[in-house]
């Protein structure tokens, strides 16, 4: 049996489509209801597929703890988790990007010397990624960790800018913010438990190849 972890939420539909396009057994995924463990059926070789549906941020844990063999998950999540994962494929689906956004007048500080950014107050739920990104530019920031609605923080004076995922930019615009600097591209990635790769490659190979051919 091959166990696949999939993120619930807005990228779930894209994941189902990716699996179906690759011809992998995905019974029951179109309408999982409240089930979190789905028996997807068997492939042509008789291998059974089981799907675990989890919150996106929990997917790396399911993989690194060896509960699931493979997973589709956003690169924003894998980057933030720091879990030991093997990244096998970029599906190029669910594309968006991580960006620094803030009031338009902040843009001039980003255009100048990095010293102008020292001590910048950044609101984000991606604190590890934000810190890493700014440190790569030689800038130390102050993080304000928020679980959501980070766009509020600059307007309330809690932060100078935000570090978040941007899809259309609609929420930013509605809150008087604009993208100041793109930090990283984000898309759904196929990841695996490194141990499963070493021990069960023969089992995983056909699924990985099918997904590779169809992305």
């Amino acid at each position: 049996m091959l166990t696949f972890a999939l993120p619930t939420g807005r990228s779930f539909a894209a994941c189902v489509e990716i699996l179906e396009n690759a011809g992998l057994p995905a019974n029951g995924l179109r309408d999982p209801g409240r089930n979190l463990v789905i028996d997807g059926g068997t492939d042509g070789g008789g291998r059974r597929y089981r799907y675990l549906l989890g919150k996106p941020s929990d997917i790396p844990t399911l993989i690194s703890q060896g509960v699931a063999d493979l997973a589709l998950v956003g690169s924003d999540v894998t980057g933030e988790s720091c879990a030991e994962l093997a990244e096998l494929l970029d599906t190029r689906r669910g594309r968006c990007y991580m960006a620094i956004a803030g009031p338009p007048e902040l843009a001039s500080r980003f255009g100048g010397h990095s010293s102008e950014l020292m001590g910048l107050r950044v609101a984000t739920k991606y604190d590890r990624t934000a810190r890493r990104t700014f440190e790569a530019w030689g800038v130390q920031i102050r993080i304000l960790y928020l679980h959501g609605s980070v766009e509020l923080a600059p307007a309330l004076g809690l932060a100078d800018c935000i570090f978040d995922i941007v899809q259309t930019g609609g929420t930013l615009k509605a809150n008087g913010l604009s993208v100041i600097k793109r930090a990283a591209e984000v898309s759904l990635r196929l990841v695996a438990d490194p141990g499963a790769l070493q021990l069960r490659w023969d089992d995983l190979r056909s699924a990985v190849s099918a997904l590779e051919k169809n992305t």
Partner: protein, 413 residues
């Protein structure tokens, strides 16, 4: 007051007994192959340790200043301590040096793990020439796992030197391409690795073909033949020689009867940053459970001016014990002296202990309290010295204390 620092754990009960048992059994096994105990310092100098480790491990060092003002870290890696010990205390005429240890190492955890420390048991074989050392160490690893009852365990072999040596010539042109590829393989970034290979302008089509397919060569030792085919197909028959050390190692292990428990992974490069030849991971079973691993690290020796081989491995003692599902560790007998003098109980305990029966003394005043304690402890026997009998708690059978035997067959006096 009753809390311990986050990331630390105090281990007791069956798990601790099992770990102690495994520690003793593995060290005895290693000693029987000529490995001498090694007690490394708990602190390591930060400069040398950081210089030898890959960046992602350097960032996990637990750094502190010694009271003498030296920048140090808590011991993060026993191999580095072993190399330091070798260089400080032995001349090349004294080589090889065989060391074994069961010691703690400390590092900041990678989420979702939280542990700051773990106990490793392992060996280091330093300063020996020839492929025999690799075979010796991997066979000893498998033998140790057998000795602990993990006879379904699996060892995955790789070679950290294949990619760098394949592209030693290319490197001069492409400015560290092989270093980048090695880093990407170490981090499991297979997708980025493939992108790097595809984008590298200096690579010939043959090299590109080999590099693209190398990480997908995983499975039984047969993949070595597939790799040789791959090298031949892309016009690098001489490069196939790079597979020889791994092939020899796999064949030797097969002849030793371990063929069914060996896997090969040509995309496997252990990620500490100092391995420079065959590397290996040990799993508790074919379905997983990483126990530890090791490999060849000649480069650390060459960094301190010694041109010889070194190879070793470390296994996490706690994971070993958990993989074996610890069995009960109850003492055989609880001895109750009643109102008798304490020296009577001590003499009885000594007599039983000398016959291999594990005992615990009960100083409770009430007979029933003592008997209840024996039940709670899971003891087989409850000894009533006052009335001069031993009772088997499960059956109620009474015998004289001299007739008690040990279930575990422990060592006598």
């Amino acid at each position: 007051m009753n809390l311990i620092p986050r990331g630390c754990s105090g281990i007791g009960g069956e798990l601790a007994s099992c770990m102690e048992d495994f520690r003793n059994r593995t060290l005895r096994l290693f000693a029987s192959y000529g490995y001498n105990p090694f007690n490394p310092a708990e602190f390591q100098l930060l400069e040398g340790t950081a210089a030898s480790l890959a960046l992602r491990h350097r960032q996990r060092l637990i750094v502190l200043n010694s009271p003498f003002g030296e920048p140090c870290c808590l011991r993060a890696d026993i191999t580095l301590s072993a190399v330091s010990y070798l260089s400080q205390h032995f001349s090349p005429e004294d080589f090889p040096l065989r060391l074994c240890y069961a010691e703690r190492v400390f590092a900041a955890p990678r989420p979702p793990k939280e542990n700051l420390e773990e106990t490793q048991v392992g060996v280091e074989l330093l300063g020996w020439e020839g492929a025999g050392a690799d075979v010796e160490v991997v066979a000893l690893l498998l033998r140790a796992l057998d000795r602990l009852g993990l006879d379904k365990s699996v060892v995955v072999l790789g070679d950290a030197s294949i990619v760098p040596r394949l592209f030693a010539g290319v490197d001069r042109m492409s400015g560290g391409l092989s270093r980048l590829l090695v880093d990407q393989l170490q981090e499991g970034a297979y997708y980025d690795y493939r992108r790097t290979v595809d984008a590298a302008a200096d690579l010939s089509e043959g090299d590109r073909g080999i590099l693209r397919e190398l990480p997908a060569l995983k499975g039984s030792a047969d993949v070595l033949a597939e790799a040789a085919d791959l090298f031949g197909r892309f016009g690098s028959p001489e490069a196939a020689r790079l597979l020889h050390p791994l092939g020899e190692l796999a064949r030797s292990l097969d002849r030793l009867g371990y063929g069914g428990r060996i896997r090969v992974d040509l995309g496997f490069i252990r990620d500490l940053g100092y391995y420079s030849g065959p590397v290996f991971n040990a799993y508790a079973s074919p379905s997983g459970g990483l126990l530890g691993g090791g490999g060849r690290y000649d480069r650390i020796l060459s960094d301190i001016g010694l041109s010889c081989q070194a190879v070793g491995f470390g296994l996490r003692l706690r994971d070993l014990a958990l993989a074996c599902k610890p069995k009960g560790c109850a003492t055989d007998a609880l001895i109750w002296s009643g109102a008798l003098a304490a020296d009577c109980a001590m003499r009885c305990a000594e007599s039983l202990s000398c016959r291999g029966v594990s005992v615990e003394l009960s100083w409770k005043l009430e007979e029933n309290d003592s008997r209840a304690l024996a039940h709670r402890r899971g003891c087989r026997w409850w000894v009533n010295l006052k009335d001069g009998y031993a009772e088997e708690l499960a059956t109620g059978v009474r015998v004289s204390p001299e007739e008690i035997t040990s279930a575990g067959g422990a060592d006598g006096c």
